[in-house]
Subunit: 257 residues, 2 copies
């Protein structure tokens, strides 16, 4: 198996930053960090002792692995510009499939998708973050797997078809549940209520599904088919049609389970 | 201030059970537990050394405080049957207001609403559960507050008008976010994906809002206005119109923030 030691990053956002720092701490050498914004490239490069670059033409072939961690809709463009057909190239996206590489005649490629929500401000412990891996050959999969196991205990093999659905599931589980918090926050603000009152509830709701299925964990007026309370809530939302529509749809969905 | 020592429970569900056990452990004496189902009344009564009763006519006047912890839509009926006009009577509901008592000429009443999602199976540490209190007089509020502070560090005064909105906010924050997990679970099952992959993400998403506002914590394709990914996701949901409609609405809501 090829030994990976030198890694370059294409991207300098949340995922790139957390990953580059974690790999650097695990004794990988980070060679270059590319970003269209030199300032961003430089900010991350300094932290991992790498060279910042702001043009893909400056990319050196001195790395064994190139990690593309840019917004999903920028990946194709990066792949088009990537010059080394024989280097191992991976991206970290949940929604871009393996074909994006194969149609460009790369020889070694894969996907290395950490399923977590990253914020620049909040430190990440990769140990418990699931990584979903895929590669064009079983040899490349082993190489990627070996690196991943140095970061995380939770390594899954997920093919491109599954990963698309997984990413969609993650949007519901993470982005949309967070938007439910946002609606709750907004309702609190409108009524001079301290959002802190809801925080223990939110944390407990998430913790419950570690040991129960969401269906088992479901509570509330819709679950009890408590029509009177549902009607009161819909009436309270009469001036906020968007929230009212979301309330109605999600309630119907709970009722249908 | 009247010293409360003896408490009776009307109800034997999740909230009643957790509260009765917590109060019993804090050296309150639980006198009676009422449930229409004698089996349920008996099951809880045994745990708190109380007398189980299955008819409201068996209710004794030997308690200083009566806690109604039944489904919201059963509260009015219980209040109509409650025989002691001079006893302190409270309910634990987020959605039933104080007027339900006053129109029945009770002298001492209030609301004692623990904002948490309770499951029979999962133990509850009341210490960190917010209690929202209200009463018909400041003297009664003090009595209820004194009891509450023996259970929890988080005591809030919330009036009936606010509590209605708080309950609505809690439905979004808890019940609806759990339904987002359920949709994610369902998508995983349909694609032979282990739902465990999503659990760290779900827990982290909830934990993030302890120190950030939900708006600051928001990530995902809608937040980035990543139209290509949103369209892919909507296409994936083409056979599940209900999920597709929820996806569309919540995405619009995130985009409008």
């Amino acid at each position: 198996m090829k030994e990976i030691k030198n890694i370059s990053f294409i991207g300098s956002g949340n995922v790139a930053s957390h990953l580059a720092i974690a790999l650097f701490r695990n004794n990988f050498s980070i060679k270059q960090v590319f970003s269209k914004s030199f300032k961003n490239a430089n900010s991350l490069a300094k932290k991992v002792n790498a060279q910042p670059i702001e043009s893909m033409s400056q990319l050196s072939n001195n790395a064994d692995l190139y990690i593309i961690a840019v917004p999903d809709d920028a990946i194709e463009n990066i792949i088009n510009q990537f010059p080394f057909k024989d280097k191992l190239l991976v991206h970290t996206s949940g929604s871009v499939n393996l074909e994006s590489f194969s149609k460009k005649q790369f020889q070694h490629f894969g996907i290395f998708y950490p399923l977590q929500t990253f914020s620049k401000k909040i430190a990440v412990d990769f140990k418990h973050i699931p990584f979903c891996l895929e590669a064009n050959t079983s040899a490349n999969l082993k190489v990627i797997e070996k690196i991943t196991k140095q970061l995380s205990d939770k390594v899954y093999h997920v093919n491109s078809e599954q990963r698309k659905s997984l990413h969609l599931a993650a949007v519901f589980a993470c982005n949309f549940s967070n938007n439910m918090y946002q609606i709750a926050f907004d309702i609190c603000q409108q009524n001079q209520l301290n959002f802190d009152i809801l925080k223990p509830l939110i944390v407990e709701t998430a913790n419950k599904i570690v040991n129960q299925t969401p269906l088992e964990a479901q509570t509330g007026p819709a679950k009890r088919n408590d029509v009177k309370t549902i009607e009161k809530h819909l009436a309270l939302l009469d001036n906020q049609k968007k929230y009212q529509e979301i309330y109605r749809l999600v309630t119907e969905n709970i009722l249908s389970n």
